[in-house]
Symmetry: D5
Subunit: 119 residues, 10 copies
């Protein structure tokens, strides 16, 4: 329970074979409709989640990624934890050559926060 | 059939002599009206294709490039494959000193994806 | 009285344990509603305060940060001093691996000023 | 006839003494109303020409530069050639410490092209 | 009379002690309402003057800077000269650890010019 | 069950006395973080809800409005129904002199929809 | 064959009951990924189709609308005809209280065209 | 104590003679740095105050207007009350031919509010 | 020689049958690459020409319109005259139900001009 | 001395014959580089002056208009007076069918002002 969350069954990410594993190239994904719940106030938080990676053997299947991210909708989790959690899950699942995950959150109490995690 | 597509007769790219082959300079091309078909859903995908290169002996003729890109209109091909495919075709045909191809796709299922391939 | 201010009791900053101290990642905070008073004219000054840091053991609690910044509302303090003061307070309190504080002030007398302090 | 053009009498560029030749500094010029004729179709082409340089002994006189660029109005010349041509003329005439010329052309057939030439 | 101007009594710049001379930090100033007169045509020129520096012992007092810049209103001086002149005056007066002055001028005869001088 | 929803206990809206009921004036409210669930696909929908009204005896208390709107987070309800539902609830509760409710929804399947209901 | 097209089987539009037929309100739909073929050159055309209406008994089902619009992908049809055709089809199918259809086409040959049809 | 405030001595507005009282013309004023205190939470509120009027005998002196608006900095007053209060004060003091006052407040709790009062 | 020009053979406009003459609808055309010559200075002028009309029996063929507008490239004609001239030619040729022609010219001598002619 | 100014010899406006006096059409002029002096502080003021009119017998010659507006550079005159003064001068000189003059001034003391005068 590293991220302070009770154990949840997350939507299963799916992966495909990288069509050109012999070449380094980058895939940049942006998901502007991320929402979860603040672990203190219980109010909704909103963010854009950005994922940039150089694939090795696998590329992530986009619909499963969307469902995986939608699954945080009812979780109480902090800005820092959710960004690190997505990073950990993708790193373990895709084993990419490089990976960056950015959580770009809407302001709360007039304070805007962006979290960046990268290899 | 490297990119999972059946063999298709693509519009022929054409090339011209580089007017100043003795000098390194860059040519940046942007084509905002690219469309192909999603290999899973069959629905149309839309993208801007960007091509940046330093020519060696040849420069690409722009009208033939447009027709070449229009030719993907009826192909079922993934974001990753089409970007790598354009990269391969241009690299083989122009033998440029450097080359970058970017597929900047419109969101699908609220997920936006950008693919970058470069030498 | 380093910043030319009389001793004031500032709202107490609060800190939390960093959930992933084993990894370098950045936290970017932006607070667009900062106001203090010009030490010469006495007129209000307005700024966006931006704070970017790589946490070590601690992360700042956002509501306490907001109250800390609101506390400058009635202080007479220059652009340069307030930016350096926030930098000093956060550096001492969070002991982050790196820290940048930016004071992006609204124009005064048609002159716009931005102050950047970083480790 | 390096750029595939018949010999033309171009408006004479003029130059001034650099007021501070003892110091490296950059001059960035942008001319958004460049037009010439396409060597294939004969149709007008439009571009913004950008010139960035570090002067040595001379700086270009701006009105003569404008007249020099206006002089391409009736010439049939390709995107690549005209950008390289302006680069060659300015390099020979100003002998600058560094020089970059950019031809940022309006789309033709939905394809946008930017040519960058630099020392 | 280095900048081709007759000797003028310029508004006196004023300086203050740097509140944190033990630390490198940057001050970025932007003044969008600069105007002087073209030395050829006599017509008004307009520019934004940007000043970025790392202070050493002194910081510039902003109102005196504004009055200093307003003082060019009636001077006939070229784009290149005025930018170098402001650079020289500030360098001599503030002895900063680094300094950059940018003159970003409005178009004249459809030609836009930006002058950048830095240490 | 007019809007095809099972009966739900909605967060209670609260109202205050209008401080100037003798004068017609407008209050425009915008809430950019509305989310509910699509009644067909079950996927999340996102919208900005805008409320413009001329108050009579009451003005809506903003925090209770936010909680009321947050309460749709787990409801399956169409674009058209939710906009009409908010309109009905506010009309009954505030009895305003005029009222407009706009549901400005994010694209779904590349189709963007805006619903406008007014007296 | 009013619009100069051979008879085609179009994707079937679907409609739902309007949840509040007792009230006039507007539905504004925007579809930025429309493409068809130019009847003269055979080259692809691209447009954003906008549909604004006040429903009577029916509202259009959005997924069927998207499939209906996607169906023009392989048709040769002019800007003017396609906009009027969508207007006719929606008017007949929805019998709305009012209807406006706008075809906002990307430039062709540097000429941009917008067609507006309304009741 | 119409607006629920204890009696305060406001900075004195000043007025000048209208230079062309024989003609209807409009004066539009925008003050983007308004701040007061929320009567419930005590936290700062921020707004842009806009004033549009057709003068009769008087025009408002701008510096006195700025000081008058700065005077709300320490008052606890609601969005609705402060906008109506500025309207009342200006109407009584300037007796303009027409008057509109807009309070365009920054979001609070993710809810943005704009208040418009006009004759 | 109404517009002060010597008689010139203009590219021939072409027209097509309006596909829905039974209905009023508008066609809005924008051509951002218009250029002609200033009748005083002889220097090039640049403009966007906008044409909005309700067709009666005819719609203008777009390529012929482009060639017609390109034909002004070598004519010396004022802002006011060229806008009225295009209006006259289109009115006579298309006999539209309504017509508006706008000449939106780039600044000359820092003065920007827009000419609007309509029925 | 209606506008509180000492008598000054203004640059002479010039006018031309309207090429199409038989038709109502509008001419919109925008001059973004207006500057004069504040009658109280003596500091420079900056504005964009916009002039919209329907000509009768005359149209204003643009270079003379620019010189006329440049002539305010050394005058001490208020926002309200200068806008009304330009209106009066143009109305008397051009006798247009309608006229609007807008003085859109840069902020002073954080207060932005726009003056609109029209027939």
């Amino acid at each position: 329970m590293k991220y302070g969350e009770k154990n949840i069954s997350r939507a299963k990410l799916q992966r495909w074979a990288n069509p050109t594993p012999d070449r380094d190239y980058t895939i940049e994904i942006s998901f502007p409709e991320f929402t979860c719940l603040c672990p203190r106030s219980g109010y909704p938080d909103f963010a854009t989640i950005k994922i940039n990676y150089i694939p090795d053997k696998y590329i992530v299947e986009l619909k499963s990624l969307k469902l995986y991210l939608n699954n945080f909708r009812d979780q109480h989790i902090s800005h820092e934890s959710v960004t690190n959690c997505v990073f950990d899950d993708l790193k373990k699942f895709l084993k990419p050559r490089s990976l960056e995950v950015i959580g770009d959150f809407n302001p709360r109490g007039n304070v805007k926060t962006v979290i960046r995690v990268s290899t």
